[in-house]
Symmetry: C2
């Protein structure tokens, strides 16, 4: 099995209401590539959220007392803190270790990340706007896959990715927020190794591995928000959801 | 830029004292591939540790009172707990949530992972042995790269990988434990996006992205412990070390 990875070139600036799947299919075709049923397309959350109009205008946000208190502790704009609170089910850590402050939050979807995944870079718009995560990244991925199917007659796997930090490792990696038909987890439970022993890798985070791989080509400042992985042998999972990755709070050893 | 990923087939069972670099170069050649200066070779920790003889025999381990106490709390063999204690600078969490118990430890090298990276699967040897991480995975990677250079005249980048869990995401991904000349972190600090705004990705975990990508092909039960990434444009960093990933304890918000 050989894998080929390439970024889809020439993707225009995405606007609210845009059909991301159609944009990707057309950009791929214009570059001489046809997207295939067996491909997996990794799409940066940023263009998905833009197409879904997931913006908030800072000047319209009135911070609560809780937001004002957290802002004081971490040095972040209280309106941004309010936006983070509005997206989160829990605030896990607040730190002033960086100039912008650090807020680690559990997003309502279950993701634990910095700033509840809210983004203010690469917005391609006036200052004072924030970009939120898609409401349902699995649904976003499915919509993109269906739209590619309409444009090309082929329905690839689609994964919506975002870039997360890690608690004990510096720097960031792409992870999978939403999936269309690509299984997030491959279970090796019950399978044995060449010597008949239980495998130490019980569950493989397939969609996260794909997302991290796409990070090699999603150069953040060069407009490459979509990457194609070709050649992977994968089984379609019609009910696949990245919510499988969310560790239940009661199993969380670290918050 | 197009990336090609493939596993090196036909790698024999590695024994203590084996020259992993020579084994990889010969296996690649036997499969019709010559390793190239611009390639990056991802090598599973397991075969590196085996070649370095990093075994411990369970029956020779005498558990301390601390090990016996932790074993009681998590249900793990006290001798395995002692081996974990011997490899670790700190025990962060102990849980009996799984039949084997869970011990999250900070390895003396700084890595935070389950069981201090100690492995008892795929050992290809009699029961009762444990496999420890390499003493210096950067040094291991450099040795492998030098050995490939001697065999082929080309010195690829080499990354030694292991499979880690994540605190808030289920399932496991490959991460980089050691590197030869592949920079672990690419800093985008000070660079701006297409709109002149600071990038939200300040630091890209390049070696971890490569490690995770290799996980797509390192099928755990099919003897594919080495993967080649070809086509990546990367700058050699002669002093590269995966210790760059270790977040200083004083910056750790979660233990």
């Amino acid at each position: 099995m050989r894998l080929e990875l390439f970024a889809i070139p020439g993707i225009p600036e995405v606007q609210p209401g845009d059909d991301v799947g159609a944009i990707l299919a057309q950009a791929a075709r214009a570059s001489g590539e046809e997207l295939r049923e067996s491909d997996i397309i990794l799409v940066a959350q940023k263009i998905v959220s833009k197409s879904e109009g997931r913006f908030r205008v800072l000047s319209e946000i009135v911070p609560s007392d809780e937001a004002l208190d957290i802002a004081k502790r971490c040095g972040k704009d209280a309106r941004k803190v309010q936006a983070i609170l509005d997206e989160s089910s829990a605030i896990l850590r607040v730190s002033n270790a960086t100039p912008d402050g650090i807020i680690i939050a559990r997003h309502k979807s279950g993701w634990v990340s910095a700033n509840a995944g809210i983004d203010e870079s690469n917005l391609g718009s006036t200052d004072g706007q924030l970009l939120l995560l898609p409401i349902d990244p699995d649904e976003s991925a499915s919509r993109i896959a269906e739209s590619i199917l309409r444009c090309t007659g082929e329905k690839p796997g689609v994964i919506v990715t975002d870039t997360f930090g890690r608690p004990w490792r510096k720097a960031l990696v792409n992870v999978a927020l939403g999936t269309s038909e690509v299984p997030p987890i491959i279970s090796w439970v019950g399978k044995t190794d060449a010597y008949g022993r239980r495998l130490n890798v019980s569950e493989q985070a397939l969609a996260d591995e794909l997302a991290a791989a796409s990070g090699l080509l999603m150069v953040k400042n060069a407009g490459k928000p979509a990457v194609v992985v070709r050649g992977l042998q994968w089984d379609r999972a019609s009910r696949a959801t990245c919510r499988e990755y969310v560790r239940p709070v009661e199993q969380d050893l670290f918050t």
